[in-house]
């Protein structure tokens, strides 16, 4: 799609044309069948007569009865206004800023932009941005409310601190976006003192592996994989194209930490800058059933890892594919960062 603004503008035109067509048709259409929900607008041109051109848009929140004898441009603008407003949902957002240790950060400047839709003289396909600014309180919390729109952007600023990257700063309303931002359960933004840095061993490797269940050992320090020797992670992949109806799975990936443990990170917006202290487990397993011709995948998985009996911490992102292609039976795509000092800081 390009110039998607045309979607609603086209609908405006539809309404206009509909009026003319109804005028020509001289008949009454059925009543509306579409009960609107979620405060989203729907369209329903109700009736037209030879003498009265009338268009109505029903919704839970908007209903406009058009005046007669309006020119088409005016009608279109009215429809556009209604459609645009339908995108605007109340914004009531609670957030909380904490530091790297989880302590509330007061006096953080919070800038916000709410994308609001209205029919200005000149339509901006990106909407009108309502800019607001507030400051966190002693408990690190802030509150944004009183306006409506379909998207909220947050920016937090405090001298001597930097926001953890990858944090979710963009929040959709009326979309599939799901987030908690209530007073009881505010959206958390973590900031780090800018002087906290550690030397990390980083790597990004793609390894080819067999899918017969044999064990491979990945050495994160060296960035190597082998079927024997020393290393940090043992991985194995078992896949069989032959599967019976009573067999639930034919694809199994196992990852075992050697003298170590792992904790999966499920928050896709976490930067994984601090490894947790505990809750490490030695093993991760992922199994599934894949069809013949399908490429199985673990999906992108992220883990904290505690190595060498707790002497080192790190984070890894791993995705495993099999069967990968004609030449590569199994593919391990792994990125990692290890702090060899024993600190749990991974920044």
């Amino acid at each position: 799609m390009k110039n998607k603004l045309a979607i609603f503008l086209s609908i405006i035109a539809l309404l206009v044309i509909a009026l003319f067509w109804r005028q020509m048709e001289n008949r009454t259409t059925p009543t509306a069948h579409f009960p609107v929900s979620n405060a989203l607008a729907t369209k329903n041109v109700t009736s037209a007569s030879t003498e009265l051109q009338q268009a109505t848009i029903h919704s839970n929140t908007f209903q406009i009865a058009e005046q007669t004898q309006q020119d088409s441009t005016t009608i279109a603008e009215e429809k556009a206004r209604v459609i645009l407003k339908s995108r605007n949902l109340p914004i009531d957002f609670w957030g909380k800023v904490i530091d790297q240790d989880g302590m509330p950060l007061p006096s953080v400047k919070v800038e916000s932009r709410i994308r609001h839709w209205d029919f200005a003289a000149k339509i901006n396909p990106n909407g009108t941005m309502i800019k607001k600014e507030t400051t966190t309180g002693a408990d690190g919390q802030f509150h944004i409310s009183g306006d409506s729109g379909d998207n909220l952007e947050i920016k937090v600023v405090k001298a001597g601190y930097a926001l953890e990257p990858n944090m979710k700063l963009d929040f959709g309303y009326g979309t599939a976006d799901r987030f908690n931002a209530t007073q009881e359960n505010p959206m958390v933004f973590k900031m780090w003192k800018t002087n906290i840095h550690e030397q990390l061993i980083v790597g990004n490797n793609r390894f080819h592996i067999a899918t017969d269940g044999r064990t491979y050992i990945i050495n994160l320090t060296k960035g190597t994989i082998a079927e024997s020797g020393e290393g940090d992670i043992k991985v194995s992949l078992t896949y069989s194209a032959q599967i019976t109806d009573d067999q639930s799975n034919n694809w199994l990936f196992e990852m075992n930490a050697v003298n170590a443990g792992i904790v999966e990170e499920t928050d896709s917006h976490s930067s994984m800058y601090a490894a947790p202290e505990d809750n490490y487990t030695p093993t991760f397993q992922f199994n599934q059933r894949i069809r013949n011709g399908q490429r199985g995948s673990t999906g992108e998985r992220r883990f904290y890892i505690r190595l060498k009996n707790g002497q080192e911490y790190g984070r890894i992102t791993i995705e495993v594919f099999a069967p990968y292609n004609d030449k590569i039976p199994g593919l391990v795509d792994i990125q990692y960062a290890i702090n060899p000092t024993g600190s749990r800081i991974l920044r």
Binding site: A6, F34, A41
Partner: protein, 941 residues
Amino acid sequence: LAGNETTTNFNYTVDYSGVTNPPALTLIWPQNNALVSGCNFTIQAQVDDATATVTASVTDTNGDTNIVPALVERNGAVWVKDLPLSSGTNIVTLTATNAAGLGIVTNFDVVQSAVSVTMDPLPDNELNQALVTVTGTVSDSSYNVWVNGVQATVSGDPTWEADNVPVNPTGTASFTVEAGMNLDSPLSGKTVALEQPSVVSVISQHTNYEDVLTVHNFCDGTDFISTYTEALDWTMGIGGDSWWFTDYFWSGETNGSETNLSAANPPAPPWLYATTQQPDYHYVPNGESETCDGLQSDSEITTQTAKTIIELAAGGPAQSGAAELVRLTVQVNSGDVPFPVSSARILGQAPTPMETNDEVGELYVSVPVGATENITPVVPGADNYTFNVQATNVTLQLAVDANRDGNITFDSQDQTTAANPYRFWLNNDYDGYDSSIEDYDDLDPSTGDDATNTTISCTRDLEDYTRLWLNTGGFVPQLESGEFIAALEWKSTTGNPQIRVFPAADWINGGATYLTDTNMAAAQLESPCGEAMQDVNGQETVTTNAPFLISTNYWYDWANGTATNFLLFDAVGHGSGQLVLAIYNSDGTVKLAESQPIYLDLQDVKEMYERWTVGDDPNTAPLTTASVVADPYSYDSTIPADNTYILFVHGWNLAPWEKDAFAETAFKRLYWQGYKGHFGEFRWPTGYGFTPIIGTITDARNYDNSESNAWASATGLLNKLNDLNTIYPGHVYLMAHSMGNVVAGEALNLASNQVVNTYVAMQAAVPAHCYDSTTANRVTPTTPDRYAYYWTDSSPSYFNSSAGAGTYVNFYNINDWALGWWNVDQNFKPDEGLAFPGYYYSTPSDTHPMGFYKIIGSDDINLFFPTNTYEIFAYADPAWSYALGAQADVNGRFSGNQVDLFSSPYGFGSEHNGHSAEFNSDNMNRAIFWNKLIEEMGLSQ
């Protein structure tokens, strides 16, 4: 008297009757059944009749034959260069035919090896050694390597080193590198050889005395003047302690016999001994001396010169007009004291001053390829001295990333040939800032053309530039000073190939980070890197008209202190040819040398990918068979490509040029990911041109009309996918954007078997419930959700049984801007009375059995599943779900294969430009997307 003419006619009869034998043809390399590494090879042979015509034909396993004429030197040496080497067995036929038409044929097979073997150039200081150390790489460390029969040590990383390799001490030295698995010697089985034996130029040296004597016979008052020559050859390296008279002549006397003169204290190689002047030489004829009038009749030496001649041999086949540049370094010791060397004399020319640095004289001389040149260091004032002369080829080389592995090398890995040139697209799109999406994009090419820009317009423009490496052999100081001028020039062109060159901002490494790193890209845009270089004559384009003489400024400003320096170029003229790096004299009038060419083919990007369409008029129903789009260029099917095919399906609201622009961006960004397979675009008749207000009003219901066309285009797409899967079985990949996923999803749903390896849905504008009825409800209208339950309430989802692809991957963005508006459009279904006809839904009844109907005039027309499915979906049935492209964790066919475009590292966000983010912005920001796409398709290495 003027004007008188006399004509004499002669008749000659060419009689070949005495010629009864064909020429004798001896194959030197490669031998029959040789396993050869690489994608090209060179045949060396010898024919006993230098006037014979020799041709080579190579037939690959597909039966494709290339016939290449050979170059036959005057000595009968035969060279057939750059023959294509395909996988499997290549059948070679070498034919020599003499003037009488008698021919001889030699057949042999050459097999391309999967093992790659390379040899590093020999270091300068080894060129005149009898035994040298040779290094290189072998891709399979289990192979043993031999060089000229000497087994190398294979380290496995993947280098090898062979020590004490014997070298032909004079003339041209050849190295044959062979690799074999589990073999004790290179001759005991199949071996893998380099594409061609590496050739280096070496020198022979001899010292030559020319004495001119005047003999006064005081007895009879006559002078007898005579000359004789003593040629003293030094045999390099071997037995290097002897001087040899090879010719000894004195006029009027019998030739002298060969005499061995031993040097008193021969210096250690590579130092040689020379004498420029001998003591007065008194000649006594017949061993007697006569005295007349008290004077002794004696000889006098009037002149005596000695010159140490360095014979240079530029290796390889002779080529008309081609020359190599040779660097001479000369050191002279008189006794143990270094002696300055100020000049050298090229035979027949005045002495040329040498650059002297630390008493090492340095001089560059030009030697015709395939010929020899005699060079004489001039050592005035020295009598007996030792000298060390080293002559090395100045390696002039150009290189591009021909194998597209991200690295550039000057060896066979990035070798280009006439049959396999480096192809690059013309920079004739129009990259710029698109205010409608607040991002960089392809702008309407009818309003601008980057080929007319002499600057790099924006970071997006950079994906239309590629790297060009220059190896000037280390005489950058001479280029800085203007003593020489380096030039780029075209040879053997077809069409009108033109490029513009730019200094690489990464002047240290010459890397490709200008494509991936925002900081490097920004630096590349800054002046002067962002401005096309001007040559010394002010021209900004490398054309076929004249050499592009690189100004001294480039070398001052951007040379990195090594022999290799870096440029970027974009193509601005369509055509092909050979590009060479040439060296000219200081005023640019005399070419001294040139590199081997790189073969370039500069094409319109539309020749580099395939375009199919089932129609582009949104008011005409799509065809069921796709046709080729050939305007203004059609696909060049001769372009070599891997046996994979990615087909791209575009989305809504794209004019035909925009469809191509999206496809071309995808093609280019996949190219920069190293994708080497085929790429195609599938066009379908979406509506387009919906600019605010006016355009929209004049084409109502445009989105739903386009969606209707999308559903109806699926049959044409499936037919094309079936065709492609026949050609590339199991290796067809499908990627669709936005509404293109209606086309793609339905095509795969219609497929009775798997025709696509992997289908990637990008920001798909199709209900998520088509694949997974369990994803969240967005709304719950009274209209049934026939996407989730098709077409009864107890049925599975519409695409539940989609069998057309092996793997389905969903690239989604929960806050996608356009898919938010998609929700609005869905809410307006059924399209009641908006335009002719109006669509409605009521509770199923006898009047409306399935609930969906439309009104045309005074008639209610019922709509039925499955007959009217496309019409119902496009106009009447709103999706309860979000779009697939805005929904996480979609199960069914997409189970487990989700890529979140909203989050890091993709960060497509919620703005307008995020919906087509992979096509807009620049490669620095979007490469990570395309990398992921390749990985998900199973095409990563």
